[in-house]
C-alpha cells in the first residue's frame, strides 16, 4: 500500500498492465519522453521502451483508428487523447468502428482498446481544455464509458478497462489528478466495471454523481448531516452501461434524488438517470428529481469559470428544495 494521487494511481495501473501483458501498448501525444502533459505516463518509456510507449503525430483520428486496428489484430492499446476537447475527431472511429467491430463481425474481431482522456473544468485551463462530453459518448451503443473518482478507483477501474475485451473510453477528472491522495495497493486487482459505488450511505435523499463532482457532492452530504439530513452518495463509476439497479434501490429507500454533473444540463447524462427513475421508481418518489448541472453554455474562460461549475451551495439548495417538497 502506498499513498497515491490519482495521477500516480493511473501511472501505476498503466505500468502494471504493461508489465503483465506484452500486448499492452500505450500511445498518444507526448506520452513518451514528456510523460504526458499531466505526467500520467511518466517514466513508462524508460521502463518499457519506445516500441510500447509511443508518441503519436498530432492526429486524433489516427490515434483512435490505429488503436482500433491494433486492438482488432490482437494488441491491447491504451491510447491517450490529450484533452477531451480534442476528442471529437476520434468520435467517428469510436462510434462507427470501435463500438461496432465485434457486433458487425458477429464476434470474429474484437476491439479491446482503451481511450483515456482527461476531462472537466475547474483548473483554470485555456479554452477547449475543460469539456465534459461524457453524455455524447454514453449514447453510443457498444462503447463503455468509465469515470473514476478517486485514486484507488482509478487504479482498479483502469486495469479492468484494459483487461476488458471491449472498447472503453476512460475519462479522468483532471481536477482530481492531484487534489486528493489515498492508499492504493498495487496488487493488480481490477474493480468491477458497470457497478456503482456507494460512497456514503443515507436514508433521506440519494445524490448521484461521478468524476470530480464527487467532491462537492460529498461536501454537501457532510453539511446536510450537520443539519440532521442523511444523504446517500452514489458514484456511478461506469456511465455506460450504468448500474441502474443500485440507483433504483437507493431511491426506493430514500424517495428523493438529486443528480449532480458538471456537463451542461440539457441532454446531459443526468437526464438518463432521472428518466430511468421516472419510469421505474415513480411511485417511490416523494419529491421532484433535481439535476444540478453546468449551464447550457460553453464553459467560460477562466475568469467566469467558477460561476459555471456546480457548487456545493447549488447542490445544497437543490437538496433542500427536494426535502422541503411536500
Amino acid at each position: 500500500m502506498a499513498e497515491m494521487t490519482m495521477i500516480e494511481a493511473i501511472r501505476t495501473a498503466l505500468a502494471r498492465a504493461l508489465e503483465d501483458d506484452d500486448d499492452v501498448i500505450v500511445m498518444g501525444e507526448d506520452v513518451a519522453i514528456d510523460g504526458g502533459v499531466f505526467r500520467a505516463t511518466d517514466g513508462l518509456v524508460q521502463r518499457f521502451g519506445a516500441a510500447r510507449v509511443r508518441d503519436t503525430p498530432l492526429s486524433e483520428t489516427a490515434i483512435a483508428g490505429v488503436a482500433i486496428g491494433a486492438a482488432a489484430h490482437g494488441l491491447r492499446p491504451v491510447a491517450e487523447i490529450q484533452f477531451m476537447g480534442f476528442l471529437y475527431p476520434a468520435i467517428d472511429q469510436l462510434a462507427n468502428h470501435a463500438a461496432r467491430l465485434r457486433n458487425r463481425t458477429r464476434g470474429r474481431l474484437g476491439c479491446p482498446m482503451v481511450l483515456r482522456a482527461p476531462f472537466g473544468g475547474g483548473i483554470k485551463a485555456p479554452e477547449h481544455h475543460s469539456e465534459s462530453t461524457e453524455a455524447m459518448l454514453a449514447h453510443i451503443p457498444g462503447l463503455r464509458v468509465v469515470i473514476p473518482s478517486a485514486p484507488a478507483k482509478a487504479y482498479g477501474l483502469l486495469l479492468a478497462a484494459i483487461r476488458d475485451p471491449d472498447p472503453v473510453v476512460f475519462l479522468e477528472p483532471k481536477r482530481l489528478y492531484r487534489s486528493v491522495s489515498e492508499d492504493v495497493a498495487d496488487d493488480g486487482a481490477a474493480l468491477a466495471l458497470d457497478t456503482a459505488f456507494v460512497l456514503r450511505e443515507g436514508s433521506d435523499v440519494t445524490l448521484v454523481t461521478w468524476g470530480a463532482m464527487v467532491t462537492e457532492t460529498l461536501q454537501a452530504a457532510t453539511s446536510l448531516a450537520a443539519e440532521g439530513l442523511s444523504a446517500e452518495v452514489i458514484d456511478l463509476g461506469t456511465l455506460k452501461p450504468y448500474d441502474r439497479a443500485a440507483i433504483r434501490a437507493s431511491v426506493a429507500r430514500t424517495g428523493r434524488c438529486v443528480i449532480v454533473h458538471e456537463a451542461p444540463l440539457t441532454a446531459g447524462f443526468g437526464a438518463e438517470i432521472a428518466a430511468d427513475l421516472a419510469e421505474h421508481r415513480l411511485t417511490s418518489l416523494l419529491a421532484p428529481i433535481r439535476r444540478v448541472a453546468g449551464y447550457d453554455t460553453v464553459m467560460p474562460y477562466l475568469r467566469l469559470e467558477a460561476h459555471y461549475m456546480p457548487s456545493t451551495a447549488r447542490i445544497l439548495d437543490a437538496v433542500r428544495s427536494v426535502m422541503e417538497f411536500a
Binding site: 500486448d23 501498448i25 516500441a51 510500447r52 509511443r54 503519436t56 503525430p57 492526429s59 483520428t61 489516427a62 483512435a64 483508428g65 490505429v66 488503436a67 482500433i68 486496428g69 491494433a70 486492438a71 482488432a72 489484430h73 490482437g74 494488441l75 492499446p77 475527431p89 467517428d92 472511429q93 462507427n96 468502428h97 467491430l101 465485434r102 457486433n103 458487425r104 463481425t105 458477429r106 464476434g107 470474429r108 474481431l109 474484437g110 451503443p141 457498444g142 476488458d164 475485451p165 471491449d166 458497470d194 452501461p241 450504468y242 441502474r244 439497479a245
Partner: protein, 354 residues
C-alpha cells in the same frame, strides 16, 4: 528526397496494353499459364457475382449494392499478391479482393443482403469487414501494421480505398503515421475516376493521386488498374518492400467505374454514355483474355467452361443465401459485447418475446 521524387514520373506502369500485348518483359509470375488463368478466373468470378448481385437487388432480394464492374483487376491483383498472413482492409467495392482472400460468395451475398453473418468470414479470419465510411479503414490499417510489428509477425496490412477517399483527413493522417512510424502498410487507391457524381478532376487539384504520398514522405506509384498483372506486380513489390522493413507505399491504380455508383445511383444524371464508352475498350477482362488467348492458347472451350462454372457457383451461393433464415432478432444484441451487460437484459427479453 529520393523517396518522394520517385513518384513524379506521371507515366502509368502497365504490363499489357489494352489489346493484351505485353509491354516489355512480363514479371516472372506472369509467365506461368496457371497463374494467369487463376487471376483471370477470379476476375470472371467477380464479374459474375457482380451481375448476380445487381439482379438480386433489382428484384428486391439484396440491399443497395456497389458494383465493381470494370475494376476487377484491382481487387484480384491486390489479393493475388498478398499472403495469408497479410491482412486486407477493404472498402465497399472490393469484392474481387475479398473473393480471392477466401470470403465465400455466400458470405458476400449475406453481407450485401443485410446480414452481419456475412462479415464472419470462415476464411480470412483476420481480414476486416467491408468499410463504408470512406477512408476510415486507413488509420485502422496502420494499427494492424503496428500490431504486426509489435508481435513480430511478417505480415503487411493492405487497405483499399477510392479516389474520393484521398480527400479525407483520415487518408492523410493514416498515410502520415505509416510514414512516421515506418509501418508495413500498403494503401491501394482504386482511382475509378468517380466519387459518386464527382469526377476525379474536381476532387483535388493534383495531377496524380500517387503524388499525395509526397505529403507523408512515402513512395507513390501509378499503375494501370485495368492490368491485373501490373497491379499484382506493383503490390508484390510494395509488400516485399514493407516486409523488408522499409515501410509503406501508396499505389494509385487507374481504372474506370463502368457502372453506376451503386444500385441506388443513376449515373446518367452526371455523365454521358459517350464518356463511358471508350473505357470499355480498356477493361481488364478482355485484356487478360486476349493475352491468354494469344500467348497461352486459351480456348473457346476453356472460356465457356469457366463462364459456366462461375455462373453455377454464383447461382448456388445465391440460392443458399436466399434460403438462409435471418438471425433471430436478439442477435442484434448478442455480439455487441463479449458478454451481454445486465443493462441489456430487458431489451434482450423484449426481442425474444417480440
Amino acid at each position: 528526397m529520393a523517396s518522394t521524387q520517385a513518384i513524379f514520373p506521371t507515366a502509368v506502369a502497365a504490363c499489357l496494353d489494352a489489346a493484351g500485348h505485353p509491354q516489355g518483359k512480363l514479371p516472372d509470375f506472369a509467365r506461368d499459364r496457371g497463374t494467369l488463368v487463376a487471376m483471370y478466373s477470379d476476375m470472371v468470378r467477380t464479374r459474375t457475382f457482380d451481375a448476380k448481385a445487381i439482379a438480386l437487388q433489382r428484384t428486391g432480394r439484396l440491399g443497395t449494392y456497389a458494383s465493381c464492374l470494370g475494376q476487377e483487376a484491382i481487387g484480384v491483383g491486390v489479393a493475388h499478391a498478398m499472403r495469408g498472413d497479410d491482412v486486407l482492409l477493404p472498402a465497399f467495392r472490393d469484392h474481387g479482393a475479398q473473393l480471392v482472400r477466401g470470403v465465400t460468395l455466400e458470405e458476400m451475398f449475406l453481407f450485401w443482403g443485410g446480414d452481419e453473418r456475412g462479415n464472419d468470414f470462415a476464411g480470412p479470419r483476420r481480414d476486416f469487414p467491408v468499410c463504408i465510411p470512406v477512408a476510415s479503414q486507413l488509420p485502422q490499417a496502420a494499427g494492424v501494421a503496428l500490431a504486426m510489428v509489435h508481435k513480430g509477425e511478417p505480415g503487411v496490412a493492405v487497405a483499399l480505398a477510392g479516389d474520393g477517399a484521398t480527400s479525407k483527413g483520415d487518408f492523410y493522417e493514416a498515410l502520415n503515421i505509416v510514414g512516421a512510424w515506418h509501418l508495413p502498410a500498403v494503401f491501394v487507391i482504386n482511382n475509378n475516376q468517380w466519387a459518386i457524381s464527382m469526377h476525379r478532376s474536381h476532387q483535388t487539384a493534383c495531377d496524380t493521386l500517387a503524388q499525395k504520398a509526397v505529403a507523408a514522405g512515402l513512395p507513390g506509384e501509378r499503375i494501370d488498374g485495368n492490368d491485373v498483372i501490373a497491379v499484382r506486380d506493383a503490390v508484390r513489390r510494395a509488400l516485399a518492400h514493407a516486409r523488408a522493413g522499409k515501410g509503406g507505399t501508396l499505389i494509385e491504380c487507374l481504372s474506370y467505374r463502368l457502372g453506376d455508383h451503386t444500385t441506388a445511383d443513376d449515373a446518367s444524371r452526371y455523365r454521358e454514355d459517350e464518356d463511358v464508352r471508350p473505357h470499355w475498350k480498356a477493361e481488364p477482362l478482355v485484356r487478360l483474355r486476349s493475352h491468354l488467348t494469344k500467348a497461352h492458347g486459351w480456348s473457346k472451350d476453356e472460356e465457356d467452361a469457366l463462364l459456366r462454372g462461375c455462373q453455377s457457383q454464383v447461382n448456388t451461393a445465391a440460392e443458399r443465401y436466399l434460403a438462409m433464415t435471418p438471425e433471430p432478432p436478439r442477435a442484434m444484441l448478442d455480439s455487441l459485447f463479449a458478454t451481454l451487460p445486465e443493462d441489456l437484459l430487458p431489451a434482450a427479453r423484449e426481442l425474444d418475446d417480440g
